[in-house]
Amino acid sequence: MTSITDAPASAAVGIRPPSPKRRSGRRTRHSALLLLLLGPAAVLIAAFIVAPAVYSVYLSFTNTQLTGFAARDPQFVGFDNFVYLLTNADFIASIGHTGEFVLYSAIIGQTVLGMVAALILSRPWIRGKGLYGAAILMPMVVPEVVASLTWASVLSSDSSGTLNQLTGLFGAASTDWLQVVPMASIIAVNIWRGIAFAMIMFQAALEDVPAELIEAARIDGASAVQVFRHVTLPLIRGPVFLYLLLTTISTVGAFGLVYLLTQGGPGGQTRIAAIYIYERALQFSQIGIGSAASIILLAIVLILGFVYVRLAKVEV
């Protein structure tokens, strides 16, 4: 048995190894380059993400307000803000609305429809893939405000609203969709907007599934559903859970779309946590309570993230 060892390249060409002094100089240059490349990003992250987050944690333990005499002299109040929020029916309700919004729009809607779109696009016999893909990608490209205003027009209570025109074809009276079914409306809009990202992620994952495994399962007599359930899905479990993690984080923090469509109404039915925080912190000027609510939301997202990572064993 012959063992092969790699000789140092310098030895192969007869070059002497660099002296310790030269090595040290190279290391210094290497460190300087690293600092130059990573430094600006690190400074920006520290200034605009870490510092505000730390400040927010500090604020959550104070009664800081933006207006009124209390704004002049904020006091440390310990866990009072957290106790207040966790016994406040409006906040609890907003967490419930957020859960409903995330479950139906992100976890079920976007994931399932995104997977369906990716599976269809992965079929070799499908024609017009470009057009189909572009149509699904469009909602992601459109700016959030434009998307919201478009949907406000589609769901308008006026008889000229697109949906009312459609239902009017069947003789139905005009409906104020954002008033009558507000949560279902914003869930539908968020699904529409999020399908594209899910589709892209699942498409990439599906391409990595070895075709021979699928073929083998087919030869063994598995149906399409069985192939998906027992072969494809286990192989793409990682990307699926990674997507669930990402979409949960982004949907929990969703604000613009919902605010522009319903402003949390009617009667607080779509007041998700982000809108509750906005109202408290900026409309009612209670930055301390708003920050505490943000911290609670952050804790919830961290727990969900931890669960996802454990379930998928995804390296993030």
Partner: protein, 446 residues
């Protein structure tokens, strides 16, 4: 490589220099002129201010002062304006003069964002023409004045005279809420609609308190806030009575509940159904004659003065009399961090006098807070506004201070419980007391 580095260094230097120059931009120019800024957020006010600003610059020039004015015109809702201007005040980036609703002044003044105007006003001859009750109402909890009120109005119940007459409903002043509710029930029976809109719930924001609840409360109870101690009396008897009234209106099906929960509840109610005659009574300030339903208003009603008239608020409890609620409207405030307070005050004084003021009053539909405007055109040609000015003398007003925003928040949440059917008057009142106590903290509650 060296050349690239040189270009990069040049670009960095230019960007840095530009940024630093922008940061250090001063509104005083080398020729001695000063540029000040004024912020308006309602289109009608923007239009009227635009007309009168050249007059100010010319007037100052005559006095040997070279002051230029930049109008920061940003059309926003009340809530958007408050959010934006709060951030600007904190950052020290607010315009030199801000036209803001008086309900915002206590919060901003309390936080120290606004400059006290007392010294300026004492030296201004126009101050002598202000009605004494407004001078008194402008004084805040710490004894200072922080905003020069330039328009006022009377909050009343506007009603569709034409529709009610056609339905055979009595249009004389209702003496009590019981009288009015009986009439409204009759209207409901004949039309099947919801005949009255009073701001309620959270969607209407702070106006649920300032334009809905507080005017009714102030007519029956003026002890809910003590300006001297700066404390709110949540046990004051009027609160429970007004919550019961809201509850009664709701249980009789008289309020447009679904519209009140609309994100912009004033649109389906005041801007659609009242002009269409489908809502017959609306709580509304003097601005209704111009800003809301006037020929250039948000939802014009043709032949407005023939179709619409006003009632005072009826008496709520035994011993009360019908009354109008006096609103302080808007005022000019100067940020504490402004570098041009003197110039900004000159502009505030100019805009609060003579023709410039008359022009603004007519465009926004407001009454004058001073006694020397009745003959100044175009205000002199507006009988409804002149009448409102006279009515102000006998209207009710309860100045409040720190904590008004928290009270507004708690009232909005509690009235929301009523209009969603989650609570009756007593339960909503109990929820209000708990919420307000939490929000105000121990120092602001009696």
């Amino acid at each position: 490589m060296k050349r690239n580095r040189g270009i990069a260094a040049f670009v960095v230097a230019v960007v840095a220099a530009g940024g630093l120059a922008a940061c250090s931009a001063d509104s005083s120019s080398s020729d001695g002129s000063v540029t000040i800024s004024i912020m308006e957020f309602q289109q009608t006010r923007i239009d009227s201010i635009k007309k009168v600003l050249p007059g100010f610059e010319a007037a100052m020039k005559k006095q040997g002062k070279d002051i230029k004015v930049k109008l920061v015109a940003d059309v926003l809702t009340d809530d958007q304006f408050k959010t934006k201007v709060t951030q600007q005040l904190i950052a020290g980036q607010a315009p030199d003069l801000i036209d803001m609703g008086d309900s915002l002044v206590p919060g901003f003044a309390g936080a120290g964002y606004l400059a006290p105007l007392d010294d300026y006003l004492d030296k201004w001859d126009g101050w002598d023409h202000y009605y004494p009750q407004f001078k008194e109402a402008m004084v805040r909890q710490d004894g200072h004045i922080y905003a020069l009120v330039h328009d006022t109005g009377v909050q009343n119940l506007f009603y569709r005279k034409d529709v009610l007459t056609e339905l055979g409903i009595d249009t004389s002043q209702p003496a009590t809420w019981d009288d009015l509710i009986a009439r409204l029930v009759e209207v409901k029976e004949k039309t099947g609609g919801t005949p009255i809109v009073i701001p309620a719930g959270t969607a209407w924001g702070g106006s649920t308190w300032t334009e809905g609840f507080q005017p009714i409360l102030g007519g029956t109870d003026q002890d809910y806030y003590d300006l001297e101690t700066g404390k709110w009396d949540l046990e004051s008897s009027g609160f429970a009575a007004v919550f019961d009234l809201y509850s009664e209106l709701y249980s009789n099906g008289l309020l447009p509940v679904q519209d009140l929960e609309n994100p912009n509840p004033w649109e389906p109610t005041k801007y659609v159904k009242f002009p269409a005659g489908e809502i017959q009574v609306a709580a509304q300030g003097t601005s209704g004659w111009k800003f809301d339903w006037g020929p250039n208003g948000a939802a014009p009603i043709p032949d407005l003065t023939e179709k619409v008239d006003t009632w005072q608020y009826p008496a709520l409890r035994s011993g009360d009399e019908p009354f109008g609620w006096s609103g302080l409207g808007s005022g000019f405030a100067i940020p504490e961090k402004s570098e041009h307070k003197d110039e900004a005050m000159l502009l505030a004084q100019y805009l609060s006098s003579g023709e410039p003021l008359a022009e603004q009053l007519v465009s926004s539909g407001a009454a004058a807070p001073r006694d020397d405007l009745a003959d100044v055109k175009p205000y002199a040609d507006e009988p409804k506004l002149l009448q409102a000015g006279e009515d102000l003398q006998s209207s009710v007003y309860v100045p409040t201070g720190d904590g008004a925003e928290q009270i507004a928040q708690a009232i909005a949440a509690a009235t929301e419980l009523i209009i969603t059917g989650a609570a009756d008057g007593k339960e909503a009142y109990a929820a209000f007391v708990k919420d307000a106590t939490d929000l105000l903290g121990p120092t602001l509650v009696k």
